[in-house]
């Protein structure tokens, strides 16, 4: 999948966890808020589709859905075929679109699959696989100063639900 892979950067990858999924009522999308596992108090936000966002939210809740969601189906393929989702890496950002790579391991062979971060993370959470971002993408992330805006949005959402 990546024949001309450049040499690994000397800077290590940054591990992330999904902090929460926030509804953006203006655009019918979801905002994925990711935090660093090393405790650095800065966030990384990715806008994802409503369906993908809900799938990630369900994985966080570990609530069992009556029927498998699309990402549950991919996990199920892995379980049947003995393919392990080893890790996912957010590798690039171009014009505000993030790119991710899913690393699959099968009988000692690693293969990579190109994915949107929403699918990569939806699968990683279900397979307990770590989520990473390259230091370069971390530096170029959007939402560096959006924490205040996000808090306001969440307060508004709570208010809207009470009505």
């Amino acid at each position: 999948m990546m024949p001309d892979e450049t040499p690994q950067p000397t800077e290590p990858l940054i591990e992330l966890t999904v902090n929460r999924v926030v509804e953006d009522p203006n655009t019918d999308t979801r905002i994925l808020v990711l935090s660093r596992t090393d405790g650095t108090p800065e966030h990384f936000m990715i806008w994802v589709g409503a369906a993908e966002g809900e799938s990630i939210r369900r994985a966080l809740d570990t609530s069992v859905t009556p029927r498998p969601m699309s990402h549950d189906l991919v996990r199920s393929f892995g379980e049947h075929l003995g393919v392990i989702t080893e890790r996912v890496v957010i590798t690039d950002v171009k014009s505000s679109t993030y790119f991710a790579t899913v690393y699959l391991e099968n009988k000692g062979v690693t293969r990579t699959v190109d994915a949107r971060p929403s699918d990569a993370i939806g699968l990683a959470l279900r397979c307990h696989a770590p989520i990473y971002v390259t230091p370069d993408v971390w530096k170029r992330r959007t939402g560096q100063n959006l924490d205040a805006w996000l808090n306001k949005l969440e307060t508004k959402n709570i208010g809207a639900q009470e009505v």
């Binding site: 189906l73 991919v74 393929f77 075929l81 790119f99 293969r111 994915a115």
Partner: protein, 151 residues
Amino acid sequence: MITQMQVKGLMFDPYNNAYIVILRDEDQADMLPIWVGKSEASSISLALESVDPPRPMTHDFMKAYLDAVNAKVISVVITDLSENTYFAKIHLTYEDSEYTVDSRPSDAIALALRSEAPIFANESVIRKQTSEELDQWLENLKPEDFGKLDS
């Protein structure tokens, strides 16, 4: 007994605010409508119209995942209907063995269209579905109702 079905179209059901995938057998004798969510409908629509989206959608990713390990979708079967929920199975070959994986029909159909795999339905599912009321309702639908999703 199973019958091979073709995806004839996709339509919006304004009463339930959902989408319906219409499956028909080759003789156009039996019809099987399956209600699906918005994102699944959009994914099936992209496959029907052979649109290559700039980034892989969830089912494109699913297909790429299977391709990466050389697993192949050989067929999908709509197997059962219980309390208005359909059930499907995806049949895969991988390293000379066959595997069967439970799935929602929407995922199975979206994946089958991308894998050029045949879609089948159990006869029992088709029988359960052909209530006269529903047939009549579907026959009354105009061709315009089977339009594109993004209208």
